[in-house]
């Protein structure tokens, strides 16, 4: 094994690299003046208050949370039957559906965004606020699909058989065994989709950019007119939300396994 000191040094360097931009943003977010200076001059949390007090920022926050919440639920509703079907049946055609579900995330996002722009325009629905929910629901279906596929794979087939020998029919098995066992994976799929939808820019921008202002769109628009510390405060809020959500997943789920490591529980 490598000695602790060199590896600690490496971790410190990478930690610095990843944290530095966020630290500077955190610094300017608590700046007392409205200027972009670091280290901050004075200390004030008023810019965080501004997110909730300023109707423009607050409505953007509400729009983002609303879109992210409904889109993540939609993504799970689409992903759950696919993952269940692949687990329950031997059906090669369902693999095609699975690949379709994985594709949006692998391709450059601008492609999916442009596809949605063309699609909603052709239907004459361009700019309708709800279209972004469907667009995000499809765009982020990959995340719950991956977590749920892992979740179903983790179910020991003997549990289902045991329930059957005790008299449970298929519906009862789903309700009493399968669902409780994959609930953590549903939650983490929801959480992943929620956080990413919250931060998504290009699809939202192309689909409803001129009618709905989500927070990333709001930040980008604000950047064009110059700097305001509120955008720094929002950025830090988003980092905090992401860290809290992933922290909760790690607390109640098996994050290394979700990320593809063999779980120590498997061995």
């Amino acid at each position: 094994m490598m000695g602790t000191w060199p590896s600690r040094l490496v971790f410190a360097c990478f930690g610095l690299f990843l944290a530095a931009p966020l630290a500077v943003v955190a610094g300017v977010a608590v700046n007392e003046k409205k200027s972009l200076t670091f280290p901050p001059e004075g200390f004030s949390l008023s810019w965080f208050g501004e997110i909730f007090a300023n109707p423009e920022w607050f409505s953007a926050l509400l729009a983002s949370v609303g879109v992210a919440a409904s889109a993540s639920v939609l993504a799970v509703l689409i992903a759950l039957p696919i993952a269940w079907f692949l687990w329950r049946w031997h059906a090669p055609f369902a693999r095609i559906v699975q690949v379709l579900g994985l594709a949006p995330f692998i391709l450059p996002p601008v492609i999916t965004a442009l596809g949605f722009l063309a699609f909603w325009s052709e239907l004459g629905l361009y700019g309708e606020p709800w279209t972004v929910v469907i667009s995000h629901g499809i765009f982020f279906v990959t995340l719950p699909l991956v977590t749920l596929t892992l979740g179903f794979d983790a179910i020991d087939g003997a549990l289902v058989e045991a329930a059957a020998t005790m008299g449970a029919d298929e519906k009862t098995v789903l309700r009493t065994i399968v669902f409780p066992l994959i609930r953590p994976y549903i939650v983490s799929g929801l959480a992943f989709a929620f956080v990413l939808s919250l931060n998504e820019y290009i699809v939202a921008y192309m689909v409803v950019g001129f009618t709905v202002e989500t927070l990333p769109i709001k930040i980008f628009n604000a950047l064009r007119y110059g700097y305001t510390p509120t955008m720094a405060a929002v950025s830090i809020l988003f980092v905090a939300v992401a860290a809290a959500v992933f922290g909760l997943i790690a607390r109640f789920g098996d994050l290394p396994r979700l990320m593809g490591a063999w779980s120590p529980r498997d061995e």
Partner: protein
């Protein structure tokens, strides 16, 4: 205990909804986009059905060639730098205690999920004249006065590597954490130093994984559209930026679609290639 095949129509019912949704809202939009790429553009931001290759012929211009070349070059550079940084990092990470790994995973996921807008804003702040890193260099006496480090190619590269780094780590994480630890121990007992064991045993045994990861990160970097705008100059715009620009600001959907189709083909080809490399490792 092989799984049964669905028999009755009712067995297929549960997958009808997701299949229908993906068909209607992913496959159909894709098809429309492909169709539009052959349409004829009418001045004033509209287009009419046609079947012409005019939009694809524009690829042959020097301007497009320049943008394409720059996009591919930039993405390759980002991919190589990100993998060079992420591979040793991930290698060390999977060797840490579970608790340490979890903390890092939370941190990496938080950064990965960050909006490109926020990453762009954060780096532009870090590279700014008034709040940027050069103020630190001045304080340390390394520089005479603070300067703005962006817009510049270096700033674009830094931002994109930052964005790609967590992604790269998470792509490498499964392969490295499943690697047989006895492989290294065997090399070490044969007298190899940690560094030599790493370069002579680990790197070659994961050559295909590394290649596949470079390609995955390359495709990921191709998708970057805001960082080049926020941190770079117009000559550092990538294909993704150009597509957005044509679709939204120039209202030239047919040309934007043609470029998107081209980008899909490049991405799919590369993803296919990376799957091929990934497969070979398993065999």
């Amino acid at each position: 205990m092989s799984k049964p095949s669905p028999r009755r129509l009712a067995d297929y019912a549960p997958i009808a909804f997701p299949a229908g949704m993906l068909l209607a809202f992913f496959v159909v939009p894709f098809g429309i986009m492909i169709a539009i790429s052959f349409y004829h553009r009418v001045q004033g931001g509209f287009y009419e059905p046609a079947f012409e290759f005019a939009n694809y012929e524009r690829f042959l211009t020097a301007f497009f060639g320049g943008v394409l070349g720059f996009s591919l070059g930039l993405s390759s550079l980002v991919a190589v730098v990100a993998v060079l940084l992420a591979f040793p990092f991930t290698w060390l990470l999977v060797r840490q205690r579970r608790q340490v790994q979890v903390i890092w995973l939370v941190f990496l996921l938080s950064v990965l999920s960050l909006s490109e807008v926020i990453i762009g804003f954060a780096w532009s702040t870090l590279f700014s004249k008034t709040a940027g890193i050069t103020n630190l260099f001045v304080a340390l006496g390394l520089m005479d006065q603070a300067v703005s480090l962006y817009p510049s190619f270096g700033a674009v590269l830094a931002g994109m590597v930052y964005q790609a780094f967590p992604y790269t780590v998470l792509v490498l994480y499964p392969a490295l954490s499943r690697l047989d630890p006895t492989l290294v121990e065997a090399a070490r007992t044969l007298g190899a130093s940690p560094f030599r064991a790493f370069f002579n045993v680990i790197v070659p045994s994961l050559r295909n994984t590394i290649l596949a990861t470079i390609i995955m990160v390359f495709v990921f970097a191709l998708g970057s559209y805001l960082l080049p705008q926020l941190l770079g100059r117009p000559q550092q715009w990538t294909l993704s930026v150009l597509i957005t620009d044509q679709a939204i600001y120039q209202s030239n959907m047919p040309f934007a679609s043609a470029m998107a189709v081209f980008l899909v083909l490049v991405s799919l080809g590369l993803v296919g290639l990376s799957l091929l490399f990934g497969q070979r490792e398993k065999a």
